[in-house]
């Protein structure tokens, strides 16, 4: 391969005027982290609500939860982002649509909502699976000692279910980080987008993408290690249902 390697390009000033190409990638990393964390919060909140709804003893609610999961799971993320970004503002009343289109952080907010709802369907599946793996006796025991359904979930089912779910939820969070790269299609300058821009400005294709690759691997390692520590912190002695 006669490719002209030039790693010093990382320290050369980038044409966007905000420092070097390395700074540009770091800005991208910040957007990746911000988008992933915010989208993850959306996914956790809505995923938990829908996931719990699917395990409640109301048939129609479980059906509604299933429909929610199927809707967000069976449309590609990229298409969902385009719907949120291009289509939804057109469907709103005119003034609202204009307001949404002029939002300063439009791509960021769209990515948070789009990726958040997309991931929420996956979180919902994990939450219902986590609750369903608990022994049925636990729910009955809750009822037997006079707890309401809400109390049974709050004090008995959910604390154990979330501990069981931690490993799969970790990989869903890692998926959220990876999925945030899809937002470059609606103009969010996250890590992959920054690497792409660096490649276009500097013509140093492989330095740009290799640097981004290394940053993604590091981010991945940090999240994995952090979540393992959390798992150990919250584990209940003698109860290793998660193992």
């Amino acid at each position: 391969m006669d490719y002209h390697w030039n790693w010093a390009i990382l320290w050369a000033p980038s044409p966007d005027g905000n420092g070097t190409y390395f700074d540009m990638l770091m800005d991208g990393l910040k957007w990746t982290i911000a988008t992933s964390v915010c989208a993850w919060l959306v996914a956790l909140v809505f995923g938990s609500l829908v996931g719990v709804a699917r395990t409640l003893p109301f048939k129609w609610l479980a059906r509604l939860g299933d429909a929610y999961v199927e809707l967000f799971r069976n449309i590609p993320l990229l298409v969902q982002l385009f719907l949120w970004f291009f289509v939804i503002p057109e469907m709103l009343p005119h003034d609202w649509g204009t307001f949404v289109k002029q939002l300063r952080y439009g791509p960021f907010l769209t990515a948070v909502v789009g990726i958040g709802f997309y991931m929420s369907s996956r979180v919902a599946m994990q939450v219902s699976a986590g609750i369903n793996t608990l022994p049925r006796g636990q729910r009955m025991a809750g009822t037997a000692i006079g707890l309401t359904t809400a109390q049974t979930y709050r004090y008995i089912l959910l604390p154990m279910a979330y501990r069981i779910m931690l490993p799969p939820l970790t990989s869903e969070f890692l998926n959220t980080i990876k999925n945030s790269s899809v937002a470059l299609t609606i103009g969010l300058m996250e890590l992959t987008g920054s690497a792409r821009a660096m490649q276009e400005f500097s013509f140093q294709v492989f330095e740009a993408f290799t640097a981004a690759t290394v940053i993604y691997l590091l981010l991945n390692a940090v999240v994995t290690i952090g979540m393992r520590m959390l798992e150990r912190r919250v584990s209940v002695p003698g109860f290793n249902a998660g193992k």
Partner: protein
Amino acid sequence: MSVFSDFDFNIIARSLPYLFREGMTFTLTLTAIATIGGVLLGTLIAMARLSSLPVLPALAASYVNVMRALPLVLVIFLFYFLMPYIGQWILQADRPIQVGALSSTIITFTLFEAAYFSEIMRAGIQSIPRGQVAAGYAIGLTYSQMMRYVVLPQAFRNMLPVIFTQMIVLFQDTSLVYVLSITDFLGAASKVGQRDGRLTEMYLFAAAVYFIISLTASMLVKRLQARIAIAR
């Protein structure tokens, strides 16, 4: 409903031949070839990972872990630019060779999905009781005969529903070739929408088509799963 009053259904009807003959054909071709290639390569990687040879398992594991830590969009870009140089190196050409969009994406998706399929096949191989392997060796089979006739057919069969589920994910992921301006199904819808200023209609229609295909496929997988579960 003021929104739908100027909704142009005609544009969808008029662009149907283009959307399906050009776009959907590309999407389905890519999905099919990448699935077959990914399962084959993934099986080899899984076998490498479970082998008792030195170095090979570690190599296979690093490949899988690195691929699974990277976003597909990044890998699509990286391989798109990398492939002309690899082609030059393989063919010992003077200059980086040109690689077409279809072959580039087929290679990218095969290599990327192989990492995911290898995890599925690894689980499948490990689901076969060790006694069968020992029995295979005991009746004098070689490693490859034992894999070919005893382990892999059962592993593949047990994992069939998971492989199909991954295939549905792959089908949806092919829409990401949009970043290379390739005319897959979404790319075709996007081009028509941009040309005629009808993005709303085209994106809603694309979403509906993806939804119907993926939902139908996942319902079929559920039925398959039930049948396999009874047979075992």
